[in-house]
């Protein structure tokens, strides 16, 4: 699968991770899905509801806020196609916790934030049988094209 993210959307994802540092920042990705291709159109940064003293290593979104995001996506003719979150001072590969909670179908973008600055983002998806996450091709689309 290829996941296309426009440059400005990627900037917003990086910005949210940097602003949340040293805590994890997370949110939902709204966009379009067609067969093996997904395209992000906008992101919804969301509050991290994990216990405050553990937010440096964990994130959790609120189900009611997820519902509101789904309704908003529908109004815009989009879908919630994925999730983004940051790894403060840690590589952008899924952790055991990420594996435990990952929902198949969603694309998970993980952004590594090194000393407060976004360094690398990679895209992952959980297999249907819940066995492991595989890396997807992440295509950053610059400008208007």
């Amino acid at each position: 699968m290829t996941f296309t993210v426009p440059g400005p959307v990627m900037d917003e994802i990086n910005g949210h991770g940097e602003k949340s540092y040293p805590e994890e920042g997370a949110g939902l990705i709204l966009g379009l899905s067609e067969g093996e291709h997904r395209e992000a159109r906008q992101v919804l940064p969301m509050p991290n509801h994990f216990d405050s003293h553990k937010r440096g290593r964990r994130y959790r979104l609120d189900p009611q806020e997820i519902l509101q995001a789904e309704e908003r996506a529908e109004q815009l003719g989009l879908e919630v196609i994925g999730v983004f979150h940051s790894h403060p001072d840690h590589p952008s590969a899924p952790s055991q916790t990420d594996l435990d909670w990952a929902v198949p179908w969603y694309v998970y973008l993980i952004t590594s934030i090194e000393k407060g600055a976004a360094s690398e983002t990679r895209a992952w998806r959980m297999l249907e049988d819940h066995s492991r996450m595989v890396e997807e091709i992440l295509e950053i689309k610059d400008g208007d094209g």
Binding site: P63, L67, T97
Partner: protein, 92 residues
């Protein structure tokens, strides 16, 4: 009739439908009707031991069924059972 709202990641198993009608008296009966009609959704709601997966949240209207009677929670005419994913993770 009552309604079930299916989140985007589970719609591939309901032929793309996000809202379904069911004739059920409890949350458990509604889920049974759903998994009977669309058997391939079952493994995404329940694990091998038949327990709800940790990322599956069930709300009747806007109340979490874990704060009510779980799968025994009654649903009435025009109620909506909402299946919502838990979205969580971490660094380590």
């Amino acid at each position: 009739m009552s309604h079930i709202r299916v989140p985007t990641p589970l719609r591939p198993y309901t032929e793309g439908q996000g809202k379904l009608e069911v004739e059920a008296g409890t949350v458990g009966e509604a889920l049974l009707e759903l998994t009977t009609k669309f058997p391939s959704i079952g493994p995404h709601l329940y694990n091998e031991d038949g327990e709800l997966r940790p990322y599956v949240n069930l709300f009747v209207n806007d109340q979490d069924v874990r704060t009510l009677d779980g799968e025994q929670t009654p649903i009435k005419e025009d109620d909506t059972l909402m299946i919502l994913p838990s979205i969580a993770g971490g660094t380590i």
